[in-house]
Amino acid sequence: MAALVALLVGVMVATGFYLLLGRSLLRQIIGLSLLSHAANIIILLAAGLRGGVPVIGAGPGSMTDPLPQALILTAIVISFGVTAFLLALGYRMHLFGGEEKGDDR
């Protein structure tokens, strides 16, 4: 499981970074979203893959570390905020320059 998920992290970083290097602003934002997925998964993997849901009394056996989950939860919401902000920024650039491609030199 860990190896599979690690592989997914690699794919998401590669595709996300490739989009970020491109020239279309919307695709750059999509790339950024993929990168934040990858970052969140790495944090979750760091908790280790042992144990069940971190709710006391939810089941027998050990529980997984809840701290990364709390970190990721807020990170998800904040990256949503950043994505929305970037979209608004792109709209603004579109209004004033008609240029929603990133820098094009």
Binding site: V5, A6, M12, T15, I42, L73, I78, A88, E100
Partner: protein, 917 residues
Amino acid sequence: MNLLLGALPLIAILAAPLAGPIAGRLRAHPGWTSAGVAAGLLAALVVLAQPVWSGQALRLSLDWFPDVGLRYALTLDGLALLFAGLILAVGVLVLIYSVAYMHAGRELGRFYAHMLIFMGAMLGVVLADDLIVLYVFWELTSLASFFLIGYRNEDPDARAGATKALVVTVAGGVVMLVGLVMLAQVGGSWQISALLAKAAAIKADPAYPVILTLVLIGAFTKSAQVPFQFWLPSAMVAPTPVSTYLHAATMVWAGVYLLARLLPMLGGTTLWVAAVTPVGLATMLAGGAIALVQTDLKGLLAYSTVGALGLATALLGWGTPAAVAAAMVFVLNHAAFKGALFLAAGAVEHETGTRVMDRLGGLRRAMPLTFGVAALATLSMAGLPPFGGFLSKEAAVEAFLHGPWIATGAVVLSGALSLAYGIRYMWIFLGSPPQPRRAKGRVAATAPSAESVHEPPVLLYVPAGVLAVVALAFGLAPGAVERLAGLAAAAITGTPQHVELWHGPTPIAAAVLATAVGGGWLIFSLHPLADRLKTLLGWMSAGRLYDRAYAASLDGAKILTGLYLTGRLRDYLIYITGTAIALVALGVARTGFAASLLPRGVEMGPAVTVLVAAAAAVAAVRMRLLLGAVLALGAAGYSVSLIYLLLSAPDIAITQAVIETVSLVLFLVAITALGKSDVGHPPARPALDWLAALAAGAVSAAMAAMVAAPSALQRVSEDFFAHAAQAGGKNVVNLIIVDFRGWDTMGEISVLAIAALGIISLAPWRRAAQRAARPRRAKAAEAAPLTTLILRTIARVVSPVIVAYALLLLATGHYGPGGGFVAGLMISAAMVLRSQAFGAALLSRRWDVLMAAGLGLAAGSSAIPLVAGKPLLQHTLLEVGGHRLPSSLFFDLGVMLLVTGAVLAAVRSLVEAAEAE
């Protein structure tokens, strides 16, 4: 008393604000407040100096950095007293002069603040008894000098002159620092007085020649000795008070002071004499000769100062008690007459608007008082009796009398030179007014007319007059000079020195006088010859080398920056990520890759999910249509949510799923707003981009596999499990968010609110004119097709259910998956669904107000524990009708309201932006 000594330099530096903001508050002229500070310090110095007059020294030594043996150690002995007195007395006069000279309306506070900082630093240099203290103040004078020379910072010449002075003196200072550190290593102490006791051992050390060379480079750069003299004339772009104070009377003498201070420690050897005296003599003659051919009044004075510094250096190089005493006498005399000459030149420039000597003449009628001041000072500079200058010239000749004839001859010749350029200086008063030249109309236009020139304001000639009268008094009543110079010389040589200057009309005095006067007239009449000397000396200067090195370093920097600063953001992105990848790769390589991580058998469920997510990510790149890319991103997001669920993280799984829905809506709206022109621009360099991207992916995958390896480290969360019961809940993830790490969440929801406010301001809400157009759109929405009807029916049924479920998740978040974040997201998703079905009107509420309410509730609820006598956000259980209700539930409610408001504000702004298209 000793503490007052330690405070002297610091008071001046710390008083700098008195010149700026505080003077403004008091409605006082910053010049007067600064002069007041200087006068106060002078009075303090006079009080402190009582024991020094009887031959003792005042010492202070405080721990500074005890671990490395650094002490804030100061000494006030005869030598320090002479220089400190000079610094403060000339400082008072120059600051008073500045009140009239510096034009108001400029940044006067800046000027006076830097003058005070310089004054304090200079005091620190001459009082320091610790090599590092000395060095710190030494460089501080260079810094203050940089700002003062560059005071007219809109003038490129001022900037270039300031930079040149800074580069030369600071570079010299750094070289000197190496020498000082070596000196401390050899002598085993940072303290100058302790090192003096070990002079013999230091001179015998094999490192002595190196130490001496390094320290001398510092002294020579500061005191503008050949070949470093070129920076001083360039520094004359400074306002005249600065030139007078820094570049005639004090800062340039720091090098001479250092020679005097270190003479008993490093001097007296053949190497010292051979290294210092010839440089001094060469500088003396070069300065005098170039001064003779200057056309700029301040240029003449600058080069004559170079010559004077050369004489003092030569005397200290010679190092006999008589030479040392002569040097000290000369320092005092020079400060008086050269200060007066600079201030008079400033007064002339102030009145006529020019410093070019060819355009000036006959000013004795228009400016009789200034003329009188200049005449007194010039006679002293030229070394004519009964002025102080005569006594110091005679003492200098006598000091070299039994030395090599070439040294004696050079000193006599320099006396003749000073008479010659003194006459040239006086010619602006004595000569006839310049005739307007027809050939050069502009020159005639700028030449001052005799009628417009008159005596300068009182403050411009009184300080100059004081210095000129002092120069005369030094000659008529040499007692004070003899006393002070004697004390300074005694402090250097270590034995009491009785300086007696006036020996009556001896044959030597008569001979010196006759040669100087005769030679002076001769040189003045032949001065065109000096042009050739100037070329010769220009060749001796390191000025051209400096210019070339400076230009080369700028060009080199430009080439170097051009190599990597391409102006393309994508390149910078590759640098940043490349660095990160390289560092992570290094870490992975050092830890080694654990073979245990390789899969042993694959479970079907996770494998399929991961495959779908990966395929979606690749599709997001490959889709040519933006819509396809956005949908692919959505698919990737939902798959990631499933993966979270598989990894025992239901909280983030539901959050991810809901947020993916809302993001999808946002992206779709954004495509209509700005996606028209997007045709999936092919990247400029796909191969390079793919290479970088694949490298980043590979390293990230390796790192992910590494961090997933089971480790022996203790989990950070054990504490959280233990305290869950106290906090009144079971879902530890939710407890961390709203309770254990509540302050972090407070910060995070604030960030979310700020992002939403940013979106509102970037994509503004509908303006009044557009709002008027809304009813039409609403009518259009009523005549909806069948699909919309179906959507409306679903929305009407489903959205209340979603909201109800969201509230349930909020209420039970403490015990199972759920909480404020996901509840807020769900409610906004329901609202978005309704708005899709019934038109955007539903979205036109003041969601920013909801956001503020949520933030207020979260902040307010953090104060509930205060009522129970606990710290902010400490978990508190409230008894409500037999049920125990955690106070953090209110915090979570605030989070929910804020998230709802922020998401809907963002959606609304973007939807309206899209409609405006």
